[in-house]
């Protein structure tokens, strides 16, 4: 059975108050579950279904539509590396390869110490600052190899 923490319960309450129909809170609740566990577990989907009066299968069908919900464990730091046109024009592909090699993983993988997950991203609305990546919630723009080294080294 999945148990939301006290802090998560407050977030759930705050989100449910926003909508006239509680199903609207599905994405927000998935975010709350992911914040708590690092990813959306099957048990969390079942619990969210109960709260919103929808089936666990429905919750899963929605969760898997959106790329930001992880249904498997991810690292402490999730790196979304933009590879779309504006970043690509400025060398994002080489920098993405460099980052993968540096971390010793394939794009899409997680380091063995569970510290980093590296994902390819389809544009993060930072086109004027390309090449760029997002590490958890932080945007890092105008990337170079040197800058990537420093960012990765600075993360505890």
């Amino acid at each position: 059975m999945f148990v939301f923490s006290e802090e998560s319960e407050k977030e759930i309450e705050r989100n449910l108050a926003k909508y006239p129909f509680k199903k609207s809170a599905l994405l927000p609740l998935l975010h709350v579950a992911q914040d708590q566990e690092g990813y959306v577990t099957p048990e969390a989907m079942e619990e969210i279904g109960k709260r919103l009066d929808v089936s666990p299968a429905y919750v899963e069908s929605v969760a898997t539509f959106y790329t930001m919900f992880h249904t498997r464990p991810v690292g402490k730091y999730v790196i979304l590396f933009c590879h779309n046109i504006s970043c690509k024009l400025l060398g994002a592909d080489d920098l993405l390869d460099y980052t993968a090699k540096k971390l010793g993983i394939e794009v899409g993988g997680t380091t063995t110490d569970k510290k980093f997950t590296l994902l390819r991203e389809e544009c993060l609305a930072a086109c004027c600052g390309g090449p760029m990546m997002r590490v958890n919630e932080d945007f890092h723009e105008f990337l170079t190899k040197d800058k990537i080294d420093k960012i990765l080294a600075s993360l505890p």
Binding site: H31, M68, S86, A125
Partner: protein
Amino acid sequence: MKILTKEIDTPGLTGIEVYEKTLDGYQSLKKAFEKKPEEIVEMVKASGLRGRGGAGFPTGLKWSFLAKDVFPRYLACNADESEPGTCKDRELMEKNPHLLIEGMILCSYACRINTAYCYLRGEFRHIQRVFDKAIEEAYAKGYLGKNILGSGFDLEMYSHLGAGAYICGEESALLSSLEGCRGEPRLKPPFPAVEGLYSKPTIVNNVETLCVVPFIVNEGAEAYAAIGTEKSKGTKLISVSGHVNKPGNYEVPMGTPTSVIINEHAGGIRNGNKLKAFIPGGSSVPMLPADKVDVPYDYESIAEAGSMLGSGALIVMDDTTNVVAETLRLAYFYMHESCGKCTPCREGTRWMYQLLSQIEQGNGKPDQVELLDDICDNMSFKCFCPLGDAAVGPVASSIKYFREDYEELIADAKAGV
């Protein structure tokens, strides 16, 4: 002339006190409440403001299409900015969230809406925090909530975070997502103004569009209409990215020559290279060759040149660019982001990607360019929503203007290079 980005780099502008002091923030509400809601709609109509999300539909006209006497009604601000090349709304929200809130309040008053949502793309979580804090401040000052400034008008405002799906920028898919569903587009008509969120009349407006409204209410429709060209009024915030010396968001009057935006505002092409191609309005519009760079940046002129103003994102490619490789990347994007609801888009985007991959990797065959063109033809205006047409834009235009890039790669493949 700055409307959207005036004083945008003022330190502390995200705080309500600085916003009020620096930009006379929220003064437009007092002016608006002296008028009837329908007078505000007429003002916006008279200003000539057109939606800045991509379609360019007249904003005041959209507001006037709301189903009469059906309540409740909703406002959904489209802050799901995900179009490759486009990053203007992020700057507006990150640096000046109160401008958007003020615009949303004005729209809600004009349209007799009592509940407004701002749908932010999932990756904008840090902006949601900025926006939520600004909403709290606006409530505390009496600009939101019950009986705003004693006007008798009530408005509740909330942020809503998406979770990574470009299709949610399409207005009906956005509403599906806001209702807790997969972000799949709906059949139109009925349009959201008649049947939108929870099947009630709903206005869906882009961030930049709503940010213009305080100026129109403060300065008058005529002041706004005096800027720009005859049919494309006002200023436009343009994201310039790619091979330029100074990429950035630049606000210019509509009708400014594209070459001026690239060479003067964005500092020209990097490394002294020459321009090869540019995409005038974000990844979903046709690219244009260098000889069209003097085109005035407005809806009509860009359409006449064979493309669209779209979201206002100018992607610049210099003469070192392999156009097929860039087109391939865009084709991948649309394949990845197709929601899968309709066959022409689901199958067409994948097929285009596969063919472009073969060509780009040196395994292309001569008839594949014709086949790509044929797929474009079979997708255009045949998909359920505009995503399919958007996928066609870069592919068809790259063949039209840069066919030699394709032929060169295919000739190399034949020669075994």
